[in-house]
């Protein structure tokens, strides 16, 4: 069909196009023009490196063998992306905030920037992904063999026993060159490669268009429409409910895990992500891409099975069908599509893996064994780039060797799934670390080791074939004849599919040890800190960390360190910016906690968190982590809950306080008003006598020949008014003293009846003959604790009021006393006008005179009752108005009586 002489130049032209796109993309990115390079569409297309040649060729092969099972590989990622809000959003946010460079960096950062953990993950990734790279090389070489059809065998899509090693080698070399040129230009923070991403987006379009073209050709060219293409299917292929069992579920889960854990997927989805909003678009656009690319897989598989000769390789149907139909254009497009899918996967996988290898394996060793000179500027940076380039070559060589020495028997899909199961071991640590605060490095390490060992033992090593690592006897009977430990039937579980079997045991052991290891010890402070930053990434600002780690270092040491990794220019810019942020006009920034954390994050963007921490630690003189603050930060939920509880409590307290304040304010206002009233009353009361004193005095002064009688009368009036004034002032002072309780009283056990008698006697004069004073029943022999004069004053006040304000034609005052319920009571009742109900509350206020006052001409300051009540309060008793029975007022004085024994 095509001669090899034609296919290779076409492939080379295509590769040249990719180089050009990558070159232009890189140029534009450097010039700062990243518009279309950083669009959601390019991002989504670049994620499609998930669809490797394993999809392009292998999906059809898988469909031809297992019907709908192929779809599981694309349903898992569909679910993960449709559920971006749960997991991917968190990953991308953390990636941005902490300058994460790879999946190993992410997990090791979470677990206290643990270098051993990062190295282990890198190792597993390399072992797991190398066969995958070999798979791509095989797909490309086979497709070249097929399309250039050297013989009848190749036309069936069956690669010759010895695959074209030369072609494979040069393809590997070409991919390595591309990756080195565009993947390792810099050790840039964030590790973004715009040129590579642009080229991959182009390849994504090519492979989708190619597969759709093949599909349309098959459905409408080879078959007679959609119905016909399905009608050709073998009856058992699509109508078999037994196809949906544990393997179906396990494969959906596995592919969902792989889209998160695969180093190349992590690289594109998290590390190369420029804007979180791109992820929002990818959440539906990527599932749509997957849907479209798998749309024609079934028709192609069915057509291949029905029209191509028996024994054709289903993994090459995509290529052999157009050839069989004689459509060279579509065949060439299919070849380029397969080539695209293979190269894009290899390139990104190599970038991701080389970053991991250089950051987590080579660099820590170089630091330990002093391979890099630590005093030359840019030395570490050059070393990093060199180690990355070397890693890429080594990875490619490893893939090539695997491809060269492994037979050609393995179906493409099987290798892919083995690789998936390998990287799925990252899942417990990755997801557990993002949502479980107490997860620690011990658990993650233990889980990973167990998972990886079981994966190798039950799946990877047996897949190499009997006799490569495992002897056929070991596979059949188990090690040392222990049947329970047979690699593919662990603990006698023989009924599971080998993949499901391996997945079950490896992930179960992994998760179990992860949990147990994490529960076994307290997280270290740095783990706790990272846990808080990662688990609560949406609530805890990254700057929170800077205040927690207390470090001191010489700014000069830090500058030297930064220069080694970032180079002179970048370092100068970084330091100048930091100095400006610190408000310094010129010179070096102060090496405070915040700056050191900032620098560490910057370095982590190049060498990974673990290495960056190790390097910073060399420059740092003193390090401590504020444990108290850390605990507070770490327990974000508890803190939030505590906070809201405190808020509630506070708001309750505030409400109560506000209520008290309102009450106090009202009381103050009332007091203020009372004071005002009191002042105006006092002034008023004082003014009346003062006015008459002043006017009579004036008359005396201004009338020289005043007759002595009138003069004496005037002087008498002045004297009387002065006495009244003095009395008023005395009462006021008396009341003020009483209210403030300043003067201590001599209290003694007295007979209150004596005081009452004295009061009645003093009032006899006032009563005269007009008012009848009568004493009814009296309590004899009572004893109270009181000041006798004061008590007498109260009685006099009550009795004289009753006499003065009595308007009854036959005025009468009745005085009763009694011992009631341990209290001594005196009631003074009259038959006067009484106290109105509305006056009862205020009758004891200062200057308050009852309406009865208005009925008589009797004078009074209105302080008597106020004073009496104060006195009774201080004596521990009460003075109140008794709701009268009929006419007249009745006041009752109550005092606690002393125990009768003392009486």
């Amino acid at each position: 069909m095509f001669s090899a002489n034609l296919v290779l130049p076409i492939a080379l032209v295509y590769v040249a196009l990719l180089f050009a796109v990558a070159f232009v993309g890189d140029r534009r990115a450097r010039a700062g023009r990243v518009e279309w390079l950083q669009s959601p569409l390019v991002y989504t297309l670049s994620i499609s490196i998930y669809c490797t040649s394993w999809t392009f060729y292998g999906a059809v092969g898988s469909a031809a063998r297992g019907g709908l099972e192929f779809a599981t590989i694309y349903l898992g990622p569909t679910l993960v992306f449709a559920g971006w809000w749960v997991l991917l959003r968190k990953l991308v946010r953390i990636g941005h905030l902490h300058g994460i460079t790879s999946v190993a960096d992410m997990i090791s950062s979470r677990f206290g920037k643990s270098a051993p953990l990062a190295a282990l993950i890198t190792l597993i990734a390399v072992i797991g992904v190398t066969p995958y790279i070999a798979l791509q090389l095989r797909a490309v070489t086979t497709s070249i063999e097929v399309i250039s059809s050297a013989g009848p065998e190749e036309a069936l899509g069956i690669a010759p026993a010895a695959a074209n090693a030369h072609a494979g080698f040069w393809i590997a070399a070409g991919m390595a060159l591309f990756t080195i040129l565009f993947g390792t230009r810099n050790v840039d923070a964030k590790e973004q490669h715009h040129g590579v991403v642009a080229a991959i987006a182009l390849e994504a379009v090519v492979k989708l268009v190619a597969l759709l073209a093949v599909g349309l050709l098959v459905v409408f060219g080879i078959c007679d429409g959609v119905a016909d293409s399905f009608a050709r299917a073998a009856p058992g292929l699509l109508h078999a409910p037994e196809g949906f069992g544990t393997r179906w579920v396990a494969l959906i889960f596995l592919s969902a895990a792989a889209i998160v854990c695969l180093p190349r997927e992590f690289q594109i989805t998290v590390v190369e992500n420029a804007d979180e909003r791109h992820l929002v678009t990818a959440s539906w656009l990527f599932p749509l891409y997957l849907f479209l690319i798998t749309l024609f897989v079934l028709p192609i598989a069915i057509a291949g099975l029905s029209v191509l000769p028996q024994g054709s390789n289903p993994d090459m149907f995509v290529l052999t069908l157009p050839m069989w139909a004689g459509n060279d254009g579509v065949a060439l497009l299919a070849f380029l599509g397969g080539f695209s899918s293979a190269t894009s996967m290899v390139i990104v996988a190599c970038i991701a893996l080389s970053t991991m290898v250089s950051n987590h394996l080579v660099m820590p060793l170089a630091l330990r064994f002093r391979w890099v000179h630590l005093n030359a500027s840019g030395e570490v940076r050059r070393f990093l780039l060199a180690s990355r380039r070397a890693s890429i070559c080594a990875l490619m060589l490893l893939g090539y060797l695997y491809f060269h020495y492994s037979g050609s028997g393995e179906a493409l899909a099987a290798i892919g799934l083995i690789s998936f199961a390998g990287v799925a071991q990252f899942l417990p640590g990755l997801v557990g670390g993002l949502y479980w605060r107490n997860a620690n490095a011990t658990g993650a390490l233990a889980g990973l080791v167990a998972g990886a060992v079981l994966w190798a033992y039950t799946l990877f090593l047996p897949s190499l074939g009997a006799g490569v690592v495992f002897t056929p006897e070991l596979l059949r009977d188990g090690p040392f004849g222990l049947a329970l430990l047979r690699p593919q039937a662990l603990f006698g579980v023989t009924w599971l599919d080998p993949l499901v079997h391996a997945l079950f045991w490896s992930l179960s052991a992994n998760t179990l040890l992860f949990v147990l290891g994490s529960l076994a010890r307290e997280p270290r402070p740095i783990e706790r800190l990272q846990a808080a930053l990662f688990v609560d990434v949406f609530r805890t600002p990254a700057e929170a960390a800077s205040g927690l780690i207390r470090r001191t270092a010489a700014a000069e040491d830090l500058r030297v360190l930064a220069e080694r990794i970032l180079g002179g220019d970048e370092t100068r810019r970084f330091f100048e910016r930091a100095a400006r942020e610190q408000g310094l006009e010129y010179g070096r920034p102060v090496a405070n906690d915040a700056f050191i954390t900032q620098l560490e994050t910057k370095l982590a963007g190049s060498v990974g968190a673990a290495t960056a921490r190790a390097m910073i630690s060399e420059a740092v003189v003193l390090e401590s982590i504020g444990l108290d603050q850390l605990m507070q930060l770490a327990d974000e939920t508890r803190r939030a809950r505590e906070h809201s509880r405190q808020l509630q409590e506070k708001s309750g307290q505030l409400e109560a306080a506000a209520g008290q304040l309102r009450a106090a304010n009202a009381r103050l206002q009332r007091l203020d008003q009372e004071k005002d009233e009191f002042l105006s009353q006092v002034s008023h009361e004082v003014r009346t006598p003062m006015t008459s004193i002043r006017s009579y005095a004036q008359v005396l002064l201004e009338t020289p020949g005043l007759d002595p009688d009138r003069a004496r009368r005037y002087v008498r009036i002045i004297h009387d008014e002065s006495v009244r004034l003095t009395r008023l002032l005395d009462s006021t002072i008396d009341l003020s003293l009483l209210e403030h309780g300043e003067v201590p009283w001599a209290r003694a056990a007295i007979d209150p009846e004596a005081a009452l008698e004295r009061a009645i006697r003093s009032c006899q004069g006032l009563a005269g003959a007009r008012v009848r004073l009568q004493s009814s029943e009296r309590a004899r022999g009572a004893t109270v604790e009181a000041d006798e004069d004061r008590l007498c004053q109260v009685f006099i006040n009550l009795i004289s009021n009753a006499i003065k304000y009595n308007t009854n034609p036959a005025p009468q005052v009745t005085i009763r006393s009694a011992l009631r319920g341990g209290a001594y009571e005196v009631e003074v009742a009259d038959n006067g006008p009484g106290i109105r109900a509305e006056e009862r509350d205020r009758i004891f206020s200062k200057f308050m005179r009852g309406w009865a006052y208005l009925q008589t001409g009797a004078s009074g300051a209105g302080l008597g009752l106020a004073i009496s009540r104060q006195i009774m309060r201080r004596l521990g008793g009460t003075l109140e108005v008794v709701p009268g029975d009929g006419r007249g007022a009745c006041f009752r004085v109550t005092l606690p009586a002393r125990a009768p024994a003392a009486a």
Partner: protein
């Protein structure tokens, strides 16, 4: 393109978040063997096997709901995060 989340009724965003959390679970449920296996019956829709139609419908349904939720949940534009200067 994206609606401003603040422009919707207050509960809308929070319900959209919950829906986004449930969506993958709902999708997984629809793909579980007891749910999907009955569709593998020997029945066709316009010549396409029923189970293929079902799978396609679930798939496109996930895409459609995810696209709808994306409109509501898209973070506000203009994240002030200039790309670091390159050397």
């Amino acid at each position: 393109m994206a609606l401003d989340p603040a422009s919707g009724p207050p509960g809308r965003l929070s319900r959209a978040r919950d829906a986004a959390r449930v969506l993958p679970l709902a999708g997984f449920f629809l793909l579980l063997p007891p749910v999907i296996a009955p569709f593998a019956a020997p029945a066709d829709v316009l010549g396409v096997p029923l189970v293929v139609v079902y799978l396609g419908a679930v798939w496109l349904g996930l895409v459609a709901v995810a696209a709808l939720l994306a409109r509501v949940l898209a973070p506000p534009p203009a994240r002030p995060e200039a790309p670091p200067p390159r050397d």
